[in-house]
């Protein structure tokens, strides 16, 4: 993200400007508290190993403070209670399921979607214009609109309760193709043209000239697909009954739904499920920003 380019209008008197600035900071801080309090609350609660302490703290500012006994007890409880609550062997398996499914979707998706987009953007071939129109039209169809027939197909082809069933519907992604396409048509043609004259194949050009230039768009698409799929609840709800294949959102739903609720354990679970996305967010922040802004261009 670039720095804000538009300077604030300085209104004649410096006293008035200072007043505006103080007001701005008050608003900024108030909003920061609003957006942070649930997360601080989650972290603090996750470490409170005394459940009754946790519940008592809910009624006061102590909910945000490290009060009472703070330990990793809740985290080890998550591992210990997992087969009871979720029915799966252990938490590590669930974490593996999510990581495996999401990384396959992202990696294979990047290859499949970008190569299609490259062909659309650069190679004159029979049927190209019709395909471009098709992609732009497909963007409009939300997943929810096809979920029911897709579920029928998945059960009929015995792909329910399989990794394949979790992965394969999400690899090709019309909006990702569109993003890649937009990026590729914006690249300067000269480099590729020189290679064409030298007799390089289109594959080689794509692989050794275009890919190295396309880091930003790959990162943007990867980040937005990662975030979307890491949180995907709807599809696993519809096709998974075998707890050994549960992904994090579905396991969390099950863990959360078990009575009696152990809030300390539940919060430890949410912390463990959130840390990967938070870390990815902090490391790849500008790509998150770009993915948000580019989906803003969608329409």
């Amino acid at each position: 993200m670039t720095d804000p380019v538009k300077p604030q209008k300085s209104g004649g008197l410096s006293g008035r400007k200072r007043f505006y600035n103080i007001l701005s900071y008050a608003a900024l801080i108030f909003l920061a508290l609003f957006f942070l309090f649930p997360l601080v609350f989650m972290f603090m609660s996750a470490f409170k190993s005394d459940e009754s302490q946790l519940i008592r703290d809910l009624s006061s500012i102590k909910a945000f403070l490290p009060t009472g006994e703070m330990s990793f007890q809740n985290f080890s409880d998550v591992f210990a209670r997992f087969n009871v609550n979720v029915g799966s062997a252990d938490y590590r398996k669930i974490f593996f399921n999510s990581s495996f499914v999401v990384s396959i979707i992202v990696v294979i998706g990047l290859i499949v979607n970008s190569s299609f987009a490259y062909a659309l953007a650069r190679i004159p071939f029979w049927g190209r214009n019709a395909l471009i129109i098709m992609i732009v039209s497909l963007i409009i169809i939300p997943f929810q609109a096809v979920a029911i027939p897709l579920m029928l197909i998945t059960y009929q082809f015995k792909l329910a309760n399989t990794y394949t069933g979790l992965i394969i519907p999400f690899i090709a992604h019309a909006f990702s193709i569109y993003l890649f396409y937009q990026f590729f048509i914006g690249l300067p043609k000269e480099l590729e043209e020189a290679a064409v004259v030298d007799g390089a194949s289109r594959f080689r050009i794509y692989w050794s000239i275009v890919l190295p230039l396309s880091g930003p768009v790959f990162a943007t698409v990867a980040v937005s697909q990662f975030l979307g799929q890491w949180g995907n609840l709807l599809w696993p709800v519809m096709i998974l009954q075998n707890p050994d294949l549960f992904t994090l959102p579905l396991a969390m739903q099950t863990f959360f739904g078990q009575a009696p609720r152990q809030w300390g354990d539940i919060m430890a679970f949410t912390v463990m499920a959130t840390l990967p996305t938070l870390i990815v967010f902090l490391v790849f922040q500008r790509y998150f920003v770009r993915s948000a802004v580019s989906s803003g261009v969608k329409g």
């Binding site: 701005s24 190569s115 062909a119 579920m151 394969i168 609840l233 959130t274 938070l278 802004v293």
Partner: protein, 305 residues
């Protein structure tokens, strides 16, 4: 005479390469998007079930599913809930995120920090958000109850936020805004940075106050961004599922039931694929209609930047 043939060969090669690069995506899109999309329409005229009963073959039943839908009180309730969500959340979230964008667009020390903080909820997946807020809404002891009691000087106390049909949906709306506002802030920010500084300088010389500048310059310049944000939030409102599914399962008394939840309940839990497909069709038509509005309002080049 060699030239044309070489050109022809290159063209043929291009065709082959292009189709090789396109085929995986085209096949996957066909099987997992286009075909199911068309199937939704076809299935909506049948009584297809998820696990077909051998003795009761699937039949064409015309518009029966659509007729049943209108008589189904919980479907109508779900549709109204999605509308209500859109009517409340769209204006609130849009104005909040615009305000946030204006705040962090100022040249003040530390605004980058605040921008990051406002965006953190977006990086938290909705299932996690729903679980955290369930504890915030816990009753009788809970953060929301403590807060409500303080701001109303004790008038409001021990509300079971998620078990009360009056408060459950607004409670879900609040956390949805919490999670989504940062995302739209960024879209507004991109729009704001596209406005030329000259316009503000000219207005400053003419003695326009910041408030006048907002109404006369900022808002009109953000027209396309605003349309976009409003439209996408409205579409999100109709896709509502995760938070309601985790927190209330649509209850109490269907007060938080949504179209997508209804689809899952009827199509998956009750296995009525035909009926759920009819709901999918209605859902798609709504989203499609909203997108058409957007295409009418936005200029042809679709560029918002």
């Amino acid at each position: 005479m060699t030239k044309p043939t070489r050109k022809g060969a290159a063209e043929r090669e291009d065709n082959i390469t292009a189709w090789l690069m396109s085929t995986p995506a085209i096949v996957l899109l066909s099987v997992f998007l286009i075909i199911p999309f068309l199937m939704a329409f076809g299935l909506s005229f049948t009584n297809q079930r998820l696990i077909p009963n051998v003795n009761v073959p699937t039949q064409f039943i015309g518009l029966t599913n659509y007729g049943r839908m209108l008589e189904d009180a919980s479907f109508v309730r779900a549709l109204l809930n999605n509308l209500l969500f859109a009517v409340v959340v769209v204006p609130v979230q849009t104005s909040l995120s615009l305000g946030m964008a204006l705040l962090v667009n100022q040249k003040l020390p530390g605004v980058n920090f605040f921008r990051t903080v406002y965006f953190v909820p977006v990086a938290t997946v909705m299932v996690v958000v729903a679980v955290i807020w369930s504890l915030i809404y816990n009753s009788p002891q809970g953060l929301m109850n403590a807060f409500a009691s303080v701001v109303t000087f004790g008038a409001v106390k021990e509300v079971a936020w998620l078990d009360n049909p009056v408060t459950a949906f607004p409670a879900i709306m609040l956390l949805s805004i919490w999670q989504g506002a940062g995302y739209q802030m960024l879209i507004f920010l991109a729009g704001l940075q596209g406005i030329s500084i000259d316009m503000y300088e000219a207005a400053g010389i003419d003695g326009a106050t910041p408030v006048q500048q907002f109404w006369k310059i900022t808002l009109p310049s953000l027209r396309n961004t605003l349309i976009l944000v409003v439209i996408t939030t409205t579409i999100f409102a109709f896709q509502l599922f995760d938070q309601n599914w985790i927190m209330t399962k649509g209850g109490p008394q269907n007060s938080t039931l949504t179209l997508v939840m209804k689809m899952v309940q009827d199509g998956f839990q009750q296995q009525k694929i035909g009926f759920a497909s009819a709901i999918s069709v209605i859902f798609f038509l709504i989203v499609f209609a909203i997108s058409l509005v957007q295409r009418r309002l936005l200029p042809e080049e679709r560029a918002v930047k």
